[in-house]
Every structure is written in structure tokens, then in C-alpha cells.
């Protein structure tokens, strides 16, 4: 996933959903008003500087000048400023209401939980057998609203996908909600926007907006448990993973691994990045990440692995099989 494969994937000025678009409209109006005010103030300053005669420190000061005319002008300027601010206030409130009135019929319900420094994502469904968990990559169906219920597992985080919507904080002890809809298929990037510790910088949330059919296919694949590994190398890798320390934190549905302290790995290989957007997800980066995560994301809670090079190859082969 990189910027060249998508347009404006983490950019508030390129809105690809109604929430972001409404904010962008308000932004354009506000920018125009503020630029006008700025230009007028600068103009007034330049006119004052140009017209006022020059003096020196010996110039006799004016003691009690008649300021009625200047004060009247100041009054007019204040009245105009008040009206402009009122207009902006109205714009702000109208946009607020519009954001709150996003149609939520047939909305997808997603629970997003923020952790230091990754995201766990639970896709909800009225039928409990169709819910599933994933991590660190959000998929949204094109044109269908989504309600994100936001929680935090530790400190305050904030989910921000600027091309789609404004941000919302994830606050421990509270549940917050973000509603959005994506109207253009493609790859986007969100990022944690509330300082959350050492690796706040690398807590990204890649977002894939898929056509409905493609989204359904993805969801079905995610619901499935992990396929048993095909070749001997991957089988050896599975034995190493299930017999080692990975399973103390990670879950791989379909095996005995069920811990939830780290991201769910059941479909790791289907994700585009590793470490919540830190590294691209390919064999060499996966090997580097597994053997020493702290070299790429210092402070991360995942320890280094002590696999021999052959064992590491097997482990990577297994993990790459988790499509």
C-alpha cells in the first residue's frame, strides 16, 4: 500500500466520504472568510502606515485628540466582524447537524479497540456466528455507512481517517462512536491522533474501501478459521509457532492459540502491512519483524524471537500461509 496506488489516502483536503466532504465544504467557506478578513486587516495596516506622517522622538505628542471619527470606524469594523463570526457559527452548527444526520440504515457495526500501538477490530453481526475479529487493517464496503464503536484497552487514542471523516478519541472507561461512509473505493490510511506513548508515530490504520461483492468475499475469508499449512516447511513453522512464545499473546483461530494481548494472526498474510502500518507485509519484512520488532518499532511490547535462521524461514512460511 502506498500513496501512488491511491489518491490522497490520508488527506483532509481530498474528501472521499460525506463526513469529510461536509467538513471540506465548511473549510472552504471559512478559509475564504478568514482570508478576506486577513487581507482587510493587512490592507488597513498598510493604508495606516502609508498615510500617517512620519515623526521622530522629539515630535510633540498629541495629548487629547478628537477620536470620535476613528472610534466610529472601529465600531463599524466590530459590527462587521460580529456578523462574520455569527455567519461562521451558523455554518459550524449546520455542519454539525449534517454530520450527525448521516443515514445509518443498513449500517455495518464495527468495534474498534485501541491498544499501545495497534488496533483490534471486531466486525459485529446480528447473527453471532458471522462476527469475526481482525487487527490493524480496516475494510469498509463502498457506499454503506459504518458505525464504529470505539474503546481503548489502555490509554487515550484517537482514530483519524482524514479522507473519510473527522477524528474521534478512544477513551478508557468510555465508549465513543464514529459514523462514516466511504464513497470511493480504494486504499486509505488512518492514524492514531492522540499521543499514546513511545510508538504513537507508528500506529497507523490502513483502510481498504471495497466494492460490496469484494467486501463480502473478504469478510467470508476473514470469518473462516486458518487453513492448515500446505507444505512441510509451513507445517514445521506451525509447530514452532504453536510451541513457542507467539501463542502467549496472539490468536490463530482454528488452532489452540487463543490469546488476545496482541493482534489476531488468523489472516495475517491478507494484510498489507505489519505492525500497524510500520512495515510492508512481505517475506523479508516479516522475517525482520518477527526476529526483532524493536529494531523497527522501538518500545513495542512484542519481544524478539530467538529462532535459528532455518526455523525463522519455517515460521515465516507458516505465517505467510495465513491468508
Amino acid at each position: 500500500m502506498n500513496a501512488s496506488t491511491s489518491g490522497g489516502w490520508q488527506d483532509a483536503l481530498l474528501a472521499h466520504g460525506p463526513q469529510a466532504a461536509q467538513v471540506l465544504d465548511l473549510w472552504r467557506i471559512t478559509l475564504a472568510v478568514c482570508t478576506l478578513v486577513f487581507a482587510l486587516v493587512l490592507l488597513a495596516l498598510l493604508v495606516a502606515l502609508w498615510r500617517a506622517p512620519r515623526g521622530t522622538h522629539e515630535t510633540a505628542p498629541q495629548i487629547a485628540p478628537d477620536d470620535r471619527k476613528p472610534l466610529r470606524r472601529v465600531g463599524v469594523a466590530i459590527a462587521a466582524s460580529t456578523l462574520l463570526l455569527l455567519a461562521l457559527l451558523v455554518g459550524s452548527v449546520v455542519t454539525d447537524r449534517a454530520l450527525a444526520q448521516l443515514g445509518l440504515r443498513d449500517a455495518l457495526h464495527i468495534e474498534l479497540t485501541g491498544h499501545q500501538w495497534w488496533w483490534s477490530i471486531h466486525y459485529d453481526d446480528p447473527d453471532p456466528s458471522r462476527t469475526f475479529d481482525t487487527a490493524n487493517e480496516l475494510h469498509l464496503p463502498l457506499g454503506r455507512p459504518a458505525i464504529l464503536t470505539l474503546r481503548s484497552g489502555d490509554v487515550i487514542h484517537s482514530v483519524w481517517m482524514p479522507s473519510l471523516a473527522g477524528k474521534k478519541d478512544l477513551i478508557p472507561g468510555r465508549t465513543t462512536t464514529l459514523t462514516l461512509r466511504a464513497d470511493r473505493a480504494g486504499l486509505y490510511r488512518g492514524q492514531c491522533a492522540e499521543f499514546c506513548g513511545a510508538q504513537h508515530a507508528w500506529m497507523a490504520l490502513p483502510v481498504s474501501v471495497d466494492e460490496p461483492a469484494r467486501f463480502d468475499a473478504w469478510a467470508d475469508a476473514q470469518r473462516a478459521t486458518a487453513k492448515p499449512p500446505g507444505d512441510e516447511l509451513a507445517r514445521r513453522g506451525q509447530r514452532l509457532v504453536l510451541g513457542g512464545d507467539c501463542v502467549m499473546c496472539h490468536a490463530i483461530r482454528g488452532t489452540d492459540a487463543g490469546a488476545r494481548q496482541g493482534p489476531d494472526l488468523t489472516h495475517l498474510a491478507a494484510r498489507g502491512t505489519l505492525g500497524a502500518g510500520t512495515l510492508p507485509n512481505d517475506a523479508s519484512h516479516l522475517a525482520a519483524w518477527v526476529s526483532n520488532p524493536a529494531a523497527h518499532k522501538p518500545g513495542v511490547n512484542m519481544p524478539s524471537a530467538t529462532f535459528s535462521p532455518d526455523d525463522l524461514q519455517a515460521v515465516v512460511a507458516y505465517l505467510r500461509s495465513l491468508q
Binding site: 512620519r54 515630535t59 510633540a60 472601529v74 455542519t95
Partner: protein
């Protein structure tokens, strides 16, 4: 011995090594205070340069995340708590008695204590930083990140205790400033005649007294959560993470006005002098300051728009955040009118004032944008906010402050700063500042969050970050030039004379630098610009003793002479009390028992401070009988 020499001997601070610690003269303390704040301004600026080096390129490895997080936290904490607010109070400490026609500031020993407490707080924070224990949770230290579970060690405790130090210093300085402005004015200087800078400091000091207790409580609750296991911010046991944000920002928003409003005072003084006329609309200006102060207490939730507070409630804070632009706009329009109807003297202080109109207005407009909830939800916690806050703080406070330094430096030192270097330095600062911070508006809109130690390549952020880094070094060069200008002028600058700018306020009636007792004959005032108005009898106060520290105390509204007070002499006890208080504060980071045991030296020092002196009491009684 003539009256000048007697007065000087009475009011000056003792010399020698021990005498250095006993100083209580407001000018001595004021200059020390101003110099110390600038040292820490430079220190925090150096930290910023390191951060900018790290951010110049994507995935850079100049420093790692742990050090970066400490740097941005200490940069923000220093600038907000150890530079911007204290420097304004320090300038007031020096200038107010002179501007108001008094021989002294109120409570001189308390003023000294407030300086020492501030200094010890600075030293504690930087010792912690050099020790690898610098706080690393941001300058507003949100919980739970800064709480006991997610900030191990003592880093956040040093932050919380730094708050205690700086808030104590700020509160005590506010008491001193309010008392000085209300009770120690020259006869005839009624409240409607005090300089606009004095109004600004009066309003600011009242704001400080109402706002600082909130952060004192918050930081104390954080310390007790971390030290003894209280649950103020623990949701599992009935606490609330958002409680911190409310408590902090209830203080934090007014705090930026503690920084901004005194700078508005500087603006008024400089514009009046360099337009050769009083500012248009004195009453409007005063009411604007008061309105800004009141309104600033109603804005704090605009820092919390991304939380799950009710939407309608947030809209009220939008309304207030927009409304507060109006009193400031009123001040700006009055200044523009003053410039338009004056006779302009385009020297360096005025250049800095003119920069305000560009930079602060731009920052204020980005503030209007941030005050609107939907826009804030996109740009909150991004580089857009970093741009905004630097535009309003540097444009709104630092530029006027440097202009004020150029303006009052002749009074502090008796020398003029070099005009040519001043103009060069100004342009470097202006250009460097805009180069650094303007691109950040766009960076935020294009998706770069704040407080990140690095960023990926290919986001379109590289160019703007590099530009910002270059600009930061231009600013650094400008600051170096300012320091060089100051040093050179102190050593061999042109002599200034009493009133080199031909200004109208009372501080310019003293010598440059003023003698220890400020005024041999304290003036009587008949108008707003005493040095510009033709003299009227009586012009001076006669009868104050010059061999005792006698100060005339006047009434609050009309400055009628009320009584003569004998003011305290130099004393080592403010320093000793501050050292004991420091021991109490620092020890209580490590054990709650310090609150008990370390209170004892504080009590002893304060008792010694206030112990009445038989000799002084006898001298006062003699003075009462035969003045």
C-alpha cells in the same frame, strides 16, 4: 551626603556573595527573572532544533522515540510554564513600580521568593531531563498515559511537581502585581489613568488567581494517583480520564491568555510612544481586556471536541471561542486607528509590533477555524494546531515581547540596542518564523498528526518538513543575533538618556537605569500620559523619608494618599525558604512522608523570615513621631 546618595543607599541591595542571595529590590529581581526566562527560552529552543533535525527527513534516526517524546514534552512545558508566563510577570515586576510612580513593588520579599521558587523548578526539570527522567507525556500530560500504570518511574512526577513550582511562583507574583497596581500608585493616578500595560497585568493577575488552582489540584491529584494510589483518574474505580482534561484545560485555556494579555499591554505602550499619541479608545481597550479575561474561562472544552461530550454542549464552546475574537479585534482596530492618526517613528520596537498584526491575526483566524467543531475534528492534534499555537503565541506574545525588550532595554541598562542589527534580527525572525510554521498548516490538513517522532516516506510531507527545519535554524540565527546585540550594547552601546523614545509614561521620568529608589521625589499624576501633559502643581510628593524604606500607599480607585508604609529590607530568608520548599517538593516526589518532615524546615525558614526586628520597629516608631 545628598538625598540621591541617601536614597540609593537605603534602597539598594547588599553587595558580596551572601548579599546576592538577599536581594529584594524589584529591579534586581526583575532583571534576574527576565534573564532566567530567556535562558530557558533558549534551552527549549535548542530542544526544538533537535526535534526539527529529526523531522527533516522521513524515517530519520537522529534521535529515537523515547528521547524525542521527552524533548517535545520539555520544550512545551518550558515554553508554557517556564518562559511565556513568567517572563510577562518578570517584565511587570521591573516596570510596574516605575510606571505607577512608586519606589517599590508590593511585598518585595515575597517577590524574591517567587523568583527563587521558579528558578529551582527550572533546575529540577532540566536535571530530570539530563538524567533521562524528563517527562515524556506531553506538556499537558494526559492521563492515563501520564498515570501510574503507563508512565513508570518518576518522569511524570517531575512534570507534576514542576507545575507546583511554577504555579506557586505565578500565584505569588500575581498577588504581588495586584497589590502593587491597586495600592502603590502615585497620587492622582486614578484607575482610569493607569497605563494600559498596568491594566493588562491587573487583569492577567486576577485570571491567574482563578485559573491556577485548577491545575494545582489536577497535578496534585496526579501525584497522589502515582505516589499513593488514589483513583482520581482510574475509571475502574470510579475515576475518569476526562476529569484530567477538564481540570487541566479549565486552567490551560486561560493560561494562553496569561501569555497573550500582557503582550497586548506591551503593544499599547509601544504603539502610543511610536505614534506620538495615546491609544485610541482607552475605555474600549480596558473593557476589551476585561472581556477577554472573563470569556477565556468559557472556552476550555474546545480542546476536547474529539471526545464523547454532548454535541450541543460543544456548540456552546464554539460560540464562545468565536466570540472571544471580538475584544481582541476591538483592540486591533483601535491600534490601527492609533497608527493611522499618529506620527509614526519606524524603529525596531514598532517593527515587532507591526509583525503582530500579520502573525497574530493569522493565528487568530486559524483559531477561529479550530473553534468550529467540524473543522476541529479534522485538524485537532495535527500540525495545523502546532502552526496555530505558534502563530498566536509567538506572534501574539514573543514578537511584542522582543519589541518590548528593544523598547525598555535603554531603561534597564542605560544603553540603546543597535538599530541596524535590530532590524536585521527582526527580518530574520519574521522570515524564519513564517518559513517554519506556515507550512505546518498544510501539513496538518494533509494528514500529519502531532507528536510523532518520524513519519513514512511518500506521504507528501517531506518538503514541508524540510522547509520547517530550515526556518527553525533561521529563527535560531535571529535569536543569536538578539543575544549578541544585547551583549554588545551592554558593553559598548550608545548611552540612552532618561527618555530616548520621548515616551509619556512615568518609568521614563527616572534615570536610565533607574536609581535604587526609583524616584527621588515620587510624582503626582494629572493625566494618562504624565510626561506628555503640561505640568500642574503639585508635581511631586514631598516628605517621604529617604533613610528608611518608606513607600506611599494610596487608595484603590482614586489613588488618594492613604498612609506611609515601611517596606522590608533585604533578607536571606526568601532564598532559604525557597530552598526548603524545593526540598519539600522534590522529596515528596519520592515519598509522601516528605510532606510531613520536610515541612519543618519550611516552617522554620518562614518563621525566621517574618520574625520582627526590634531595631526596625523602633526606627518605624521614631519615624511616626517625627517624620
Amino acid at each position: 551626603m545628598n538625598v540621591h546618595e541617601t536614597l540609593d543607599r537605603t534602597w539598594r541591595d547588599p553587595g558580596g556573595f551572601v548579599g546576592w542571595f538577599c536581594a529584594v529590590n524589584h529591579k534586581t529581581i526583575g532583571l534576574r527573572f527576565i534573564a532566567t526566562t530567556f535562558v530557558f527560552f533558549a534551552a527549549a529552543g535548542a530542544l526544538a532544533l533537535v526535534m526539527r533535525l529529526q523531522l527533516a527527513r522521513p524515517r530519520n534516526d537522529v534521535i529515537g522515540p523515547d528521547l524525542y517524546n521527552q524533548l517535545f514534552t520539555v520544550h512545551g512545558t518550558t515554553m508554557m510554564f517556564l518562559f511565556a508566563v513568567p517572563v510577562m510577570q518578570a517584565m511587570a515586576t521591573y516596570l510596574l513600580p516605575l510606571m505607577l510612580g512608586s519606589r517599590s513593588i508590593a511585598f518585595p520579599r515575597l517577590n524574591a521568593y517567587a523568583y527563587w521558587i521558579y528558578l529551582f523548578g527550572c533546575l529540577m526539570l532540566y536535571a530530570a531531563l539530563f538524567c533521562g527522567a524528563g517527562p515524556d507525556a506531553g506538556w499537558f500530560s494526559y492521563v492515563p498515559l501520564a498515570g501510574p500504570d503507563y508512565s513508570p518511574g518518576k518522569r511524570s512526577d517531575f512534570w507534576a511537581q514542576l507545575i507546583t513550582f511554577s504555579e506557586m511562583s505565578g500565584l505569588l507574583e500575581s498577588i504581588v502585581i495586584i497589590a502593587t497596581i491597586l495600592k502603590l500608585r502615585a497620587p492622582g493616578m486614578a484607575l482610569h489613568r493607569i497605563p494600559l500595560f498596568a491594566w493588562a497585568m491587573l487583569v492577567t493577575s486576577f485570571m491567574v488567581m482563578f485559573a491556577m488552582p485548577s491545575v494545582m489540584f489536577a497535578s496534585t491529584a496526579l501525584i497522589t494517583d502515582r505516589l499513593v494510589g488514589t483513583h482520581f483518574f482510574n475509571p475502574a474505580e470510579g475515576g475518569d480520564a476526562l476529569l484530567w482534561q477538564h481540570l487541566f484545560w479549565f486552567f490551560g485555556h486561560p493560561e494562553v491568555y496569561f501569555i497573550f494579555i500582557p503582550a497586548l499591554g506591551f503593544m499599547s505602550q509601544i504603539i502610543a510612544t511610536f505614534s506620538r499619541r495615546p491609544v485610541v479608545g482607552y475605555a474600549a481597550m480596558v473593557l476589551s481586556l476585561i472581556a477577554t479575561a472573563f470569556m477565556s474561562f468559557g472556552l476550555w472544552v474546545h480542546h476536547m471536541f474529539a471526545t464523547n461530550l454532548p454535541e450541543l454542549g460543544k456548540a456552546f464552546f464554539t460560540a464562545m471561542s468565536l466570540m472571544i475574537a471580538l475584544p481582541t479585534a476591538l483592540q486591533i482596530f483601535c491600534w490601527l486607528a492609533t497608527l493611522a492618526t499618529g506620527r509614526l517613528v519606524l524603529k525596531t520596537p514598532l517593527l515587532y509590533v507591526l509583525a503582530f498584526f500579520f502573525i497574530l491575526v493569522l493565528g487568530g483566524l486559524s483559531g477561529v477555524m479550530l473553534g468550529m467543531v467540524p473543522l476541529d475534528l479534522q485538524v485537532h492534534d495535527t500540525y495545523f494546531v502546532v502552526a496555530h499555537l505558534h502563530y498566536v503565541l509567538i506572534g501574539g506574545a514573543v514578537f511584542p515581547l522582543i519589541g518590548a525588550i528593544y523598547y525598555w532595554f535603554p531603561k534597564f541598562s542605560g544603553r540603546l540596542l543597535d538599530e541596524r542589527v535590530g532590524k536585521l534580527q527582526f527580518w530574520l525572525f519574521f522570515i524564519g518564523f513564517n518559513l517554519t510554521f506556515f507550512p505546518m498548516h498544510l501539513l496538518g490538513l494533509r494528514g500529519m498528526p502531532r507528536r510523532v517522532y518520524t513519519y513514512p516516506a511518500g506521504m507528501g510531507w517531506e518538503g514541508m518538513n524540510l522547509l520547517a527545519t530550515v526556518g527553525a535554524f533561521v529563527i535560531a540565527l535571529s535569536v543569536v543575533l538578539l543575544v549578541a546585540n544585547v551583549v554588545r550594547s551592554v558593553l559598548r552601546g550608545t548611552a540612552a538618556g532618561d527618555n530616548p523614545w520621548g515616551a509619556g509614561s512615568l518609568e521614563w521620568a527616572t534615570s536610565s537605569p533607574p536609581s535604587a529608589g526609583n524616584f527621588v521625589h515620587p510624582p503626582v499624576v494629572h493625566g494618562r500620559e504624565p510626561l506628555w501633559e503640561p505640568g500642574a502643581q503639585p508635581a511631586v510628593v514631598a516628605g517621604l523619608a529617604d533613610d528608611r524604606r518608606e513607600v506611599l500607599v494610596t487608595s484603590v480607585i482614586d489613588a488618594q494618599p492613604d498612609h506611609r508604609a515601611i517596606f522590608p529590607t533585604p533578607s536571606p530568608w526568601p532564598f532559604v525558604s525557597a530552598a526548603a520548599t524545593t526540598l519539600l517538593f522534590v522529596a515528596s516526589i519520592f515519598t509522601p512522608w516528605a510532606v510531613v518532615w520536610a515541612s519543618i524546615p519550611v516552617a522554620l525558614a518562614v518563621i525566621a523570615w517574618f520574625w520582627p526586628s526590634v531595631r526596625e520597629t523602633l526606627a518605624e516608631k521614631l519615624l511616626e513621631r517625627s517624620p
